[in-house]
Protein backbone atom coordinates (compact mmCIF):
# COMPACT_ATOMS: atom_id res chain seq x y z
CA UNK A 1 0.00 0.00 0.00
CA UNK A 2 1.52 3.38 -1.00
CA UNK A 3 2.39 5.78 1.84
CA UNK A 4 0.04 8.74 2.20
CA UNK A 5 1.78 12.10 1.65
CA UNK A 6 2.14 14.66 4.42
CA UNK A 7 0.68 18.11 3.96
CA UNK A 8 3.13 21.02 3.99
CA UNK A 9 2.46 22.73 7.39
CA UNK A 10 3.54 26.15 6.10
CA UNK A 11 0.87 26.08 3.39
CA UNK A 12 -1.80 24.20 5.33
CA UNK A 13 -2.77 27.18 7.50
CA UNK A 14 -6.06 28.53 6.12
CA UNK A 15 -4.98 32.16 5.70
CA UNK A 16 -1.57 31.23 4.28
CA UNK A 17 -3.25 28.85 1.81
CA UNK A 18 -5.71 31.60 0.79
CA UNK A 19 -2.84 34.05 0.29
CA UNK A 20 -0.79 31.66 -1.84
CA UNK A 21 -3.86 30.77 -3.92
CA UNK A 22 -4.66 34.46 -4.48
CA UNK A 23 -1.07 35.17 -5.51
CA UNK A 24 -1.09 32.14 -7.83
CA UNK A 25 -3.83 33.78 -9.91
CA UNK A 26 -2.13 37.17 -10.35
CA UNK A 27 1.33 38.49 -11.21
CA UNK A 28 1.65 40.59 -8.06
CA UNK A 29 -0.66 42.07 -5.47
CA UNK A 30 -0.73 44.92 -2.99
CA UNK A 31 -1.05 44.29 0.73
CA UNK A 32 -4.37 46.19 0.77
CA UNK A 33 -5.85 43.98 -1.97
CA UNK A 34 -4.84 40.81 -0.12
CA UNK A 35 -6.38 42.24 3.06
CA UNK A 36 -9.64 43.03 1.26
CA UNK A 37 -9.87 39.60 -0.34
CA UNK A 38 -9.09 37.64 2.83
CA UNK A 39 -10.90 39.91 5.29
CA UNK A 40 -7.93 39.55 7.64
CA UNK A 41 -6.52 42.11 10.08
CA UNK A 42 -3.30 43.97 9.27
CA UNK A 43 -1.37 42.25 12.06
CA UNK A 44 -2.43 38.70 11.26
CA UNK A 45 -1.98 39.21 7.53
CA UNK A 46 1.50 40.67 8.00
CA UNK A 47 2.52 37.78 10.26
CA UNK A 48 1.29 35.11 7.84
CA UNK A 49 2.90 36.82 4.86
CA UNK A 50 6.18 36.97 6.79
CA UNK A 51 6.00 33.19 7.37
CA UNK A 52 5.47 32.66 3.65
CA UNK A 53 8.35 35.00 2.90
CA UNK A 54 10.66 33.18 5.34
CA UNK A 55 9.79 29.91 3.63
CA UNK A 56 10.75 31.49 0.30
CA UNK A 57 7.22 31.14 -1.11
CA UNK A 58 6.56 34.85 -1.64
CA UNK A 59 8.79 37.80 -2.47
CA UNK A 60 8.08 41.27 -1.13
CA UNK A 61 8.86 44.66 -2.61
CA UNK A 62 8.30 47.99 -0.87
CA UNK A 63 8.00 51.13 -2.93
CA UNK A 64 6.47 54.60 -2.98
CA UNK A 65 3.77 55.46 -5.50
CA UNK A 66 2.77 59.14 -5.48
CA UNK A 67 4.47 59.48 -2.08
CA UNK A 68 2.35 56.69 -0.61
CA UNK A 69 4.09 53.50 0.60
CA UNK A 70 3.08 50.32 -1.19
CA UNK A 71 3.96 46.75 -0.27
CA UNK A 72 3.80 44.41 -3.22
CA UNK A 73 3.81 40.62 -2.92
CA UNK A 74 4.46 38.09 -5.64
CA UNK A 75 4.67 34.31 -5.59
CA UNK A 76 8.12 32.80 -6.15
CA UNK A 77 8.85 29.73 -8.24
CA UNK A 78 9.49 27.79 -5.00
CA UNK A 79 6.04 28.86 -3.78
CA UNK A 80 4.42 27.79 -7.03
CA UNK A 81 6.03 24.33 -6.82
CA UNK A 82 5.10 24.00 -3.12
CA UNK A 83 1.45 24.90 -3.82
CA UNK A 84 1.30 22.42 -6.73
CA UNK A 85 2.75 19.70 -4.48
CA UNK A 86 0.28 20.60 -1.72
CA UNK A 87 -2.68 20.31 -4.13
CA UNK A 88 -1.30 16.99 -5.39
CA UNK A 89 -1.00 15.71 -1.82
CA UNK A 90 -4.55 16.89 -1.03
CA UNK A 91 -5.90 15.05 -4.05
CA UNK A 92 -4.02 11.90 -3.07
CA UNK A 93 -5.38 12.06 0.47
CA UNK A 94 -8.89 12.58 -0.83
CA UNK A 95 -8.38 10.10 -3.64
CA UNK A 96 -10.56 7.43 -2.12
CA UNK A 97 -13.24 9.85 -1.01
CA UNK A 98 -13.52 12.05 -4.12
Amino acid sequence: MPELPELNPVIHGKLRLALLSLLAGVEEAEFTWLRAKTGSTDGNLGAQLMKLEEAGYVAVEKKFVQRKPQTIYRMTETGRVALAEYVQALKLLLGGAM
Partner: protein
Protein backbone atom coordinates in the same frame (compact mmCIF):
# COMPACT_ATOMS: atom_id res chain seq x y z
CA UNK B 1 -9.45 8.86 7.34
CA UNK B 2 -12.29 10.33 9.32
CA UNK B 3 -15.11 12.24 7.69
CA UNK B 4 -14.36 15.48 9.53
CA UNK B 5 -10.76 15.39 8.26
CA UNK B 6 -11.97 14.68 4.74
CA UNK B 7 -14.42 17.56 4.94
CA UNK B 8 -11.63 19.84 6.11
CA UNK B 9 -9.37 18.77 3.24
CA UNK B 10 -12.20 19.33 0.76
CA UNK B 11 -12.66 22.80 2.27
CA UNK B 12 -8.98 23.48 1.57
CA UNK B 13 -9.41 22.50 -2.10
CA UNK B 14 -12.49 24.72 -2.42
CA UNK B 15 -10.59 27.58 -0.80
CA UNK B 16 -7.76 27.24 -3.34
CA UNK B 17 -10.22 27.24 -6.27
CA UNK B 18 -12.24 30.22 -5.00
CA UNK B 19 -9.16 32.33 -4.22
CA UNK B 20 -7.57 31.63 -7.61
CA UNK B 21 -10.87 32.60 -9.31
CA UNK B 22 -10.91 35.80 -7.23
CA UNK B 23 -7.59 36.85 -8.73
CA UNK B 24 -8.80 36.26 -12.27
CA UNK B 25 -12.14 38.00 -11.83
CA UNK B 26 -10.87 41.36 -13.03
CA UNK B 27 -10.45 40.18 -16.65
CA UNK B 28 -14.18 39.57 -16.87
CA UNK B 29 -15.37 43.01 -15.78
CA UNK B 30 -14.92 45.09 -18.93
CA UNK B 31 -18.54 45.05 -20.10
CA UNK B 32 -18.84 48.82 -19.57
CA UNK B 33 -16.13 49.54 -22.18
CA UNK B 34 -18.01 47.64 -24.91
CA UNK B 35 -21.17 49.54 -24.06
CA UNK B 36 -19.27 52.86 -24.02
CA UNK B 37 -17.70 52.28 -27.45
CA UNK B 38 -20.99 51.06 -28.91
CA UNK B 39 -22.71 54.25 -27.80
CA UNK B 40 -19.71 56.28 -29.09
CA UNK B 41 -20.12 54.72 -32.57
CA UNK B 42 -23.80 55.70 -32.58
CA UNK B 43 -22.99 59.24 -31.43
CA UNK B 44 -20.29 59.61 -34.11
CA UNK B 45 -22.57 58.21 -36.83
CA UNK B 46 -25.44 60.51 -35.84
CA UNK B 47 -23.14 63.56 -35.61
CA UNK B 48 -21.48 62.82 -38.97
CA UNK B 49 -24.81 62.19 -40.71
CA UNK B 50 -26.93 64.95 -39.23
CA UNK B 51 -24.20 67.52 -38.60
CA UNK B 52 -22.23 66.81 -41.79
CA UNK B 53 -19.04 67.27 -39.81
CA UNK B 54 -15.64 65.81 -40.68
CA UNK B 55 -14.63 66.07 -37.03
CA UNK B 56 -17.45 63.83 -35.78
CA UNK B 57 -15.51 60.56 -35.88
CA UNK B 58 -12.06 61.68 -34.72
CA UNK B 59 -13.45 63.85 -31.89
CA UNK B 60 -15.88 61.17 -30.65
CA UNK B 61 -13.22 58.45 -30.83
CA UNK B 62 -10.64 60.52 -28.94
CA UNK B 63 -13.27 61.41 -26.31
CA UNK B 64 -14.23 57.72 -25.93
CA UNK B 65 -10.55 56.78 -25.70
CA UNK B 66 -9.90 59.34 -22.95
CA UNK B 67 -13.05 58.26 -21.08
CA UNK B 68 -11.99 54.60 -21.33
CA UNK B 69 -8.50 55.40 -20.00
CA UNK B 70 -9.90 57.40 -17.05
CA UNK B 71 -12.49 54.76 -16.13
CA UNK B 72 -9.97 51.93 -16.53
CA UNK B 73 -7.50 53.73 -14.24
CA UNK B 74 -10.24 54.20 -11.63
CA UNK B 75 -11.52 50.61 -11.73
CA UNK B 76 -8.03 49.06 -11.89
CA UNK B 77 -6.62 51.08 -9.01
CA UNK B 78 -5.30 48.67 -6.36
CA UNK B 79 -6.24 45.59 -8.37
CA UNK B 80 -3.44 43.21 -9.30
CA UNK B 81 -2.59 42.43 -12.89
CA UNK B 82 -2.91 39.00 -14.48
CA UNK B 83 -1.07 37.74 -17.55
CA UNK B 84 -4.38 36.96 -19.23
CA UNK B 85 -5.73 40.43 -18.43
CA UNK B 86 -2.63 42.11 -19.86
CA UNK B 87 -2.75 39.94 -23.00
CA UNK B 88 -6.38 40.82 -23.69
CA UNK B 89 -5.74 44.48 -22.88
CA UNK B 90 -2.83 44.48 -25.34
CA UNK B 91 -5.02 43.08 -28.13
CA UNK B 92 -7.68 45.76 -27.67
CA UNK B 93 -5.21 48.64 -27.19
CA UNK B 94 -3.19 47.68 -30.28
CA UNK B 95 -6.38 47.28 -32.30
CA UNK B 96 -7.71 50.67 -31.14
CA UNK B 97 -4.50 52.55 -31.93
CA UNK B 98 -4.09 50.86 -35.36
CA UNK B 99 -7.71 51.49 -36.28
CA UNK B 100 -7.50 55.15 -35.24
CA UNK B 101 -4.29 55.81 -37.20
CA UNK B 102 -5.49 54.06 -40.38
CA UNK B 103 -8.93 55.72 -40.36
CA UNK B 104 -7.55 59.20 -39.63
CA UNK B 105 -4.99 58.79 -42.45
CA UNK B 106 -7.70 57.58 -44.85
CA UNK B 107 -9.87 60.56 -43.94
CA UNK B 108 -7.00 63.07 -44.14
CA UNK B 109 -5.85 61.77 -47.52
CA UNK B 110 -9.30 62.36 -48.96
CA UNK B 111 -9.71 58.70 -49.86
CA UNK B 112 -12.78 58.35 -47.69
CA UNK B 113 -15.08 55.55 -48.77
CA UNK B 114 -17.84 54.28 -46.50
CA UNK B 115 -17.36 50.70 -47.76
CA UNK B 116 -13.62 50.68 -47.00
CA UNK B 117 -14.15 52.38 -43.64
CA UNK B 118 -16.75 49.87 -42.48
CA UNK B 119 -14.86 46.89 -43.89
CA UNK B 120 -11.75 47.88 -41.92
CA UNK B 121 -13.69 48.58 -38.70
CA UNK B 122 -15.59 45.28 -38.99
CA UNK B 123 -12.47 43.24 -39.70
CA UNK B 124 -10.43 44.80 -36.89
CA UNK B 125 -13.21 44.52 -34.28
CA UNK B 126 -13.97 40.97 -35.46
CA UNK B 127 -10.32 40.01 -35.03
CA UNK B 128 -10.06 41.55 -31.53
CA UNK B 129 -13.33 39.92 -30.41
CA UNK B 130 -12.25 36.55 -31.84
CA UNK B 131 -8.83 36.73 -30.16
CA UNK B 132 -10.40 37.57 -26.78
CA UNK B 133 -13.02 34.86 -27.25
CA UNK B 134 -10.34 32.23 -27.92
CA UNK B 135 -8.30 33.34 -24.88
CA UNK B 136 -11.33 33.38 -22.57
CA UNK B 137 -13.07 30.41 -24.25
CA UNK B 138 -16.19 32.58 -24.40
CA UNK B 139 -18.74 31.55 -27.04
CA UNK B 140 -20.81 34.73 -26.68
CA UNK B 141 -17.81 36.87 -27.59
CA UNK B 142 -17.09 34.60 -30.53
CA UNK B 143 -20.63 35.36 -31.73
CA UNK B 144 -19.72 39.08 -31.56
CA UNK B 145 -16.66 38.39 -33.72
CA UNK B 146 -18.90 36.63 -36.26
CA UNK B 147 -21.32 39.61 -36.27
CA UNK B 148 -18.50 42.10 -36.96
CA UNK B 149 -16.92 39.93 -39.66
CA UNK B 150 -20.32 39.53 -41.31
CA UNK B 151 -20.73 43.32 -41.26
CA UNK B 152 -17.27 43.65 -42.80
CA UNK B 153 -18.16 41.26 -45.64
CA UNK B 154 -21.48 43.08 -46.15
CA UNK B 155 -19.53 46.36 -46.44
CA UNK B 156 -17.44 44.86 -49.27
CA UNK B 157 -20.39 43.73 -51.38
CA UNK B 158 -23.45 45.74 -50.29
CA UNK B 159 -24.85 49.12 -51.24
CA UNK B 160 -24.36 52.20 -49.04
CA UNK B 161 -27.66 51.48 -47.28
CA UNK B 162 -26.57 47.90 -46.60
CA UNK B 163 -23.26 49.20 -45.19
CA UNK B 164 -25.07 51.56 -42.81
CA UNK B 165 -27.58 48.93 -41.65
CA UNK B 166 -24.81 46.32 -41.20
CA UNK B 167 -22.66 48.74 -39.18
CA UNK B 168 -25.50 49.91 -36.93
CA UNK B 169 -26.69 46.32 -36.38
CA UNK B 170 -23.18 45.05 -35.60
CA UNK B 171 -22.66 47.96 -33.19
CA UNK B 172 -25.92 47.13 -31.44
CA UNK B 173 -25.37 43.36 -31.17
CA UNK B 174 -21.56 43.21 -31.01
CA UNK B 175 -20.94 46.14 -28.65
CA UNK B 176 -24.02 47.48 -26.84
CA UNK B 177 -25.93 44.25 -26.21
CA UNK B 178 -22.73 42.29 -25.53
CA UNK B 179 -21.53 45.01 -23.12
CA UNK B 180 -24.82 44.94 -21.19
CA UNK B 181 -24.71 41.12 -21.11
CA UNK B 182 -21.12 41.14 -19.76
CA UNK B 183 -22.06 43.72 -17.12
CA UNK B 184 -25.02 41.61 -15.95
CA UNK B 185 -22.75 38.53 -15.76
CA UNK B 186 -20.22 40.52 -13.72
CA UNK B 187 -22.86 41.78 -11.27
CA UNK B 188 -24.18 38.22 -10.81
CA UNK B 189 -20.64 36.94 -10.20
CA UNK B 190 -20.03 39.63 -7.60
CA UNK B 191 -23.31 38.80 -5.86
CA UNK B 192 -22.42 35.08 -5.83
CA UNK B 193 -18.97 35.95 -4.49
CA UNK B 194 -20.48 38.11 -1.73
CA UNK B 195 -22.91 35.34 -0.82
CA UNK B 196 -20.08 32.77 -0.60
CA UNK B 197 -17.81 35.03 1.46
Amino acid sequence: MENTEQAELRDRLKLIESMMAEGRRKTESWGWSFLLWGVAYYVATAWATLGHSNFAWPVTMVAAGVLTAVMAARTSSGHPETTLGRAIGAVWSAMGVSLFIVLVCLGASGRYDAHVFMAIIGAMLGTAHATSAIMLRWKMQFACAAVWLAASVAACFGSETVVTVAFLSATFFGQILFGIYAMILDVRRRQRGAANA
